[in-house]
Symmetry: C2
Subunit: 336 residues, 2 copies
DNA sequence: CTGAAAGCGCTTACAG
DNA sequence: CTGAAAGCGCTTACAG
């Protein structure tokens, strides 16, 4: 299996040049004649040679590995998609990803030390929920990027979903379908997701000249909350013809509370694009997908391109969501 | 931030010993007097020294990093939990985890090469669905363990869920609750999960002296399939008093098809413990959780303890699931 | 354009 | 028990 260690020396011998030249030719860093480069490449191919990344890292002090510190890797819906996006981007750039899990929001000290001892080139911290955080000092190396969170106290580059745009997107989709009496069902937890989406909803309704009606219930944003909010909306109101729920799980509560209506004439859109839920509901739920994979990709791009410590400027990038249309929005003759 | 590189030399100077002694003292590999060890330790602590893992890896040719190759990291429900379990176990053992994603079941060649060039000590391959696979040759290094899959052609250690035990567990729970007319709703895809769980169901029913009735519909195992199977069961049969659905999503279909019954007197148990679904349903769904985190832990234990290539013996470990009780199983007077 | 030499930060025989 | 020396496999000034 493991071929008898083919090192740079064997390649040099095979190509009839020095190891220095092999290094130059293969890394593209030195200046080598085209002819030599080809001979070296051919020799390397023949031997199946790939430079030892450990040796390279030790010598050059660039490991080409990125640390991925994820909160609640096991259960957070964002963890997998962000990680997959980051991994893909890293692969394209020749980087590997090393992970550590932050259970219950706390990062194991020894794990962080190990990461640093591993000489990672930068670290990506991924929050389980969109919020402000206080990054542990040891991680604040000047080569860190935050995903799904930001650190108000430090100038760390962050990349988060554009919650306002997400609320707008959902609402405008409903408006385009001809709905006018649209309510927004959400939770009063004061988090960026709920306040941002509500804000986007209100803005879109305002632009359309409609009065935005928002029904907030106490969190957490589960099916029970969705049902409760729907109940409140029906009690307070002439029947709405569409609802924008804070997320897919709350939308599921809407189905439970008003199943017959949803079957017949109430349109609903959720957010989060939680596949097993959105696809299983009937009618299948239209939802705004959060840009998790893209967030992962961007995080890697920033991390890799990051100049040396303290040259980074503070900045928060907000990424839009994307609408995933399924069957829960019926179009309806516009009546104003 | 980054302290001016505190190396083993600085520690040696601080402790007034040689670097050799520092290495011996800190690694625990050499024989050092207790007094010396303490002096070294104190010096290391004072300087905040942690050995450079890259240098250590290069010299000792043990990187203390494990490769985690996961299929469909973004969407597989098992990926997160397995990864979290593996990460926790690795941390305890002083190992780090490096990940690569296998999109659509294919592993990027360059990525695998990079993994090997990274000198990972072993690799853990995690399948998105329980099945037989054919591990890419380059990964078959003699230091690989499979999770959620096995390779019939090679003697690679594998660890999978015990589907039969899972079927048994769900069924026996229903039997213990006093149910007798229990049906199993599943899919005819011939995969280990569906055939194993059905087998466990039949065995448990047999033990209880009941005739096992299994309704199979064409896959995939989505809510539509669950509803169809439920429809078939009701058509074929006097009404069952309980159903064991292949998984939580099919169970959701049962709720959709027979909502009133589920509210009033039909007990149901699912499998997979898909949180957003199981917790959102009403009544909340009792489900058998798959042992994903434990599978991850075990995989790491095997990987770390793995002797040198070709000393490994073929073996498949099957782990039981655990019942997560919620509200969908009512107990009922036993009537035989 | 090419190569001899030093060295990244450790660990590991090997002597003492 | 302790330490001087070699060396892991590369890259990187530096000469030629």
């Amino acid at each position: 299996m493991t071929r008898k260690s083919q090192g740079i020396r064997e390649v040099a011998a095979e190509a009839g040049v020095s190891v220095t030249t092999v290094s130059h030719a293969l890394s593209g860093h030195g200046v080598v004649s085209g002819e030599t480069r080809q001979r070296v490449q051919a020799a390397a191919d023949r031997l199946g040679y790939a430079p030892n990344r450990i040796a390279r890292a030790l010598r050059s002090s660039r490991s080409n590995v990125l640390a991925f510190v994820g909160e609640e890797l096991a259960t957070s819906p964002s963890a997998g998609p962000v990680l997959a996006g980051a991994q893909a981007a890293a692969a394209e750039l020749g980087f590997m990803i090393m992970i550590v899990n932050a259970q219950h929001g706390v990062i194991d000290g020894p794990q962080v030390e190990a990461l640093l001892a591993q000489q990672v080139d930068a670290t990506i911290f991924v929050a389980a929920s969109h919020r402000a955080i206080d990054l542990p000092g040891r991680l604040d190396t000047g080569r860190t990027v935050l995903v799904g969170a930001w650190d108000p106290a430090r100038g760390i580059p962050a990349i988060v979903p554009d919650e306002v745009a997400i609320g707008r997107l959902a609402t405008e989709h409903l408006l385009r379908a001809g709905h006018r009496d649209i309510v927004h069902l959400t939770v009063d937890d004061g988090m960026p997701a709920s306040v941002g989406r509500a804000e986007g909803f209100c803005a879109a309704m305002g632009d359309a000249g409609r009065h935005p009606r928002v029904f907030r219930v106490p969190g957490p944003a589960d099916a029970r909350a969705g049902a409760a909010a729907m109940r409140a909306a029906r009690a307070a109101d002439t029947a709405p013809d569409a609802v924008f729920a804070f997320d897919d799980v709350m939308a599921m509560g809407v189905y439970q509370e008003a199943g017959a209506l949803v079957q017949s004439r109430l349109s609903v859109v959720g957010a989060g694009d939680l596949r097993p839920v959105a696809e299983s509901l009937r009618p299948a739920l239209t939802s705004v997908a959060l840009p998790w994979a893209e967030m992962g990709r961007r995080a890697v791009a920033i991390a890799v391109g990051m100049p040396v410590p303290d040259a980074v400027g503070e900045s928060i990038a907000r990424l839009p969501g994307v609408l995933v249309e399924r069957a829960s929005v019926r179009s309806r003759a516009a009546t104003t």
